[in-house]
């Protein structure tokens, strides 16, 4: 096999999607798209439910035929190759465990097929099972496990393998926070220590942000933006990405750009905020003065010494432990505000918050593109 980079006998190819498309009969799920995943990179696919993440992964795995285009592993077209020739390990969104094998057998199946020596199999399974806290379940059949345990088995089945590319389809969705944290750390370690391709589908902000070298944001089959986590958070290409990345989600309020006393302000129903000079420079050329303003909930502060003041009526206060999220009203729209629980805010009152104006984002109202 053509292979530019090798690690311990496996090949870690550069994966390129070239005008790949997918339709189910008349339903076009993925219009033709390009995507390049560098070798050894940890790529995270995020996007709303039903946007085509699993389909992309399954096409990469060879489980779904392409309706158009071609996938290349190091410039070699692979769409005719069988999954097993692509040297992949995969965690299925719906687990796809072998119902007739116990957990140990499920996890070791690929190794046994590859004729890995018994003791080695044994050792790997034990290690991974230990890592996933399922070592005590190795003799059970999948039907005798809880949902989260099944998901861990699905994960384990991939992790015991030594493939060149790992595909994870929402592998942690049914795990509790603690375990998920642990798994995330393990994956991060894997990412950093062994050089493999990993493609990871998730809808979890934290996972995407912490694990991804590169994040691909998809929506309705289209790739909206790709880049490093920080890029996406700090400079989202459009309103969709801005709204999708970050939790709680960014607030969008319509407003107008007005020039007042030399500075540029955004004025809308119930607010009137100055833009900082950098931003002001950028929006100066905007053709349309009527824009959408994006404010992250974390851009608000109760410390009025910071930021521009804004008056909001607090409707609900959701207690989340260290933070609280306030649902407030600004003019006619709901605005989420994140505050430290240490400085509690009561629901029902109107209070003035500070807005960190350097964190504001301005979007074109029609195209949604960030200005």
């Amino acid at each position: 096999m053509l292979c530019r980079i090798r690690f311990g006998g496996t090949c870690v190819p550069r994966i390129v999607f070239d005008q790949v498309a997918k339709s189910y009969g008349a339903v076009e799920v993925l219009p033709p798209f390009d995507l390049a995943l560098d070798d050894g990179e940890f790529t995270v696919l995020v996007g709303p439910s039903g946007c085509g993440k699993s389909t992309t992964l399954r096409m990469l795995a060879g489980l779904e035929t392409l309706s158009g285009g071609e996938i290349y592993f190091d410039d070699r077209p692979i769409s005719k190759l069988d999954p097993k020739e692509r040297d992949l390990a995969m965690v299925f969104q719906d687990y796809a465990l072998y119902p007739h094998m116990n957990i140990a057998k499920n996890m070791s199946f690929a190794l046994r097929l590859a004729r890995v020596p018994k003791p080695e199999i044994e050792e790997k399974v034990q290690r991974v099972a230990g890592m996933l806290n399922i070592a005590h379940l190795l003799d059970r059949k999948p039907a005798e496990l809880s949902g989260g345990q099944r998901q861990r088995v699905a994960m384990g089945r991939a992790l015991v393998r030594d493939a060149g590319t790992f595909l994870f389809d929402e592998p942690l969705s049914n795990l509790d926070a603690k375990l998920r944290g642990k798994m995330r750390a393990e994956l991060a370690e894997m990412r950093d220590t062994i050089d493999k391709n990993m493609v990871y589908v998730t809808h979890d902000q934290v996972e995407a942000m912490t694990l991804g070298d590169r994040i691909v944001v998809m929506s309705d089959g289209f790739i909206q933006q790709q880049g490093s986590p920080e890029e996406l958070f700090k400079s989202p290409a459009n309103k969709f990405v801005a709204g999708f990345i970050g939790s709680p989600t960014m607030n969008f309020v319509d407003g107008d750009l007005v020039e007042e006393s030399g500075a540029i302000w955004v004025r809308g129903d119930g607010f009137h905020l100055p833009l900082d000079s950098q931003m002001a420079a950028r929006v100066k050329t905007a053709p349309d003065k009527s824009i959408t303003l994006g404010v992250r909930p974390s851009s608000f502060t109760t410390d009025l010494t910071q930021g521009a003041p804004i008056e909001l009526r607090v409707v609900v206060s959701e207690y989340l432990g260290a933070q609280s999220v306030l649902v407030t009203r600004c003019g006619g729209v709901d605005v989420l505000v994140e505050t430290q629980s240490a400085a509690p805010v009561k629901a029902g009152i109107t209070q003035t918050f500070g807005v960190l104006t350097n964190e504001l984002m301005i979007f074109d109202k029609t195209s949604g593109l960030r200005l």
Binding site: G25, A26, T65, D94, Y95, L97, P142, G147, R150
Partner: protein, 290 residues
């Protein structure tokens, strides 16, 4: 869902397939050919491929339905048409009954734990082991003297249903086991009673098994001879009985038998064709996660 995609196969596969088809269908093709020959050709040892095809044998078999007078037919068995209707009624009714009843019993055996479950299950199987030859006389006696349903279609249907039930129960059990139990649970949560669970959820999902069982049940009911011969009277007689009874040992009329055999095979073939379309992949795809 317009264009279905098909997997590409390598040529060896097709070669093998052709060989297998020849093996499987070859004898039937022979039969068809024979049915188109005159007896004098059938038994001659000259080449079997060169002959004048004739529909004579079919005319003989179907003399009842001919709108013209076939010159070679001296005597016409007027009962073929009636027998055909009997066979159809008996085979269809008993297939449907067997499937529904058997399926319900299989479901009970799979999904409910109750006293004597294994016993019921095993004795069901035991009942299938008895050769019809020995059952013949008791069945005839009971049907005639006790139930007084000898000579009726109902009587024959009854015995076919009973005869096929063990088979259907056992085979469907193994299919029902594979239906994800979560679906039944979901239906129960949705307020379905046991019968609704069964008919609305389980039954549609074991279609492949049902189809296979149906094909086999239909086949038995269609072709069964021994009991039909004993229980049927002239009016309720089925086609196989009619055929067998037209075979004399003085002169096996190969052509006519093969022609009748071909005709006899048509309904079950149609049935198979329809039923085997129900044997489809992925009945339970997307149902549960796990």
């Amino acid at each position: 869902m317009s264009a279905k995609t098909y997997d590409r196969q390598n040529p060896a596969f097709y070669a093998l397939l052709v060989a297998l088809v020849v093996m499987s269908v070859g004898p039937i093709a022979m039969m068809l050919m024979t049915s188109l020959k005159l007896n004098v050709d059938i038994m001659s040892d000259t080449s079997s491929l060169l002959f004048m095809p004739t529909l004579r044998n079919y005319e003989t078999a179907l003399c009842d339905f001919l709108w013209y007078e076939a010159p070679h037919i001296e005597y016409c068995d007027k009962t073929f048409g009636r027998a055909l209707i009997n066979s159809l009624v008996i085979a269809l009714v008993s297939t449907v009954l067997t499937l529904v009843i058997g399926c319900m019993a299989a479901y009970a055996l799979v999904r409910f734990r109750f006293m004597g479950r294994d016993t019921v299950s095993l004795s069901t199987l035991a009942m299938r082991m008895v050769p019809p030859a020995v059952l013949l006389v008791p069945v005839f006696g009971i049907w005639t003297f006790q139930f007084q349903i000898d000579g009726t279609r109902a009587g024959i249907i009854l015995v076919y249903v009973a005869m096929n039930l063990p088979f259907v129960i056992w085979i469907l059990q193994s299919f029902i086991v594979q239906v994800p139990i979560q679906l039944e649970e979901a239906a129960r949560m949705d307020g379905a009673g046991p019968f609704q669970v069964f008919f609305l959820v389980v039954l549609p999902l074991i279609k492949p098994g049902l189809a296979a069982a149906a094909i086999f049940t239909f086949r038995v009911a269609w072709n069964e001879f021994l009991l039909a011969n004993a229980l049927a009277d002239r009016n309720s007689r089925t086609v196989p009985v009619t055929i067998v009874n037209s075979i004399t040992e003085f002169d096996i009329d190969w052509g006519v038998i093969m022609a009748t055999g071909m005709l006899l095979a048509i309904p079950p073939i149609i049935f198979t064709f329809v039923a085997s379309r129900q044997i489809i992949t992925g009945m339970t795809a997307g149902a549960v996660k796990g």
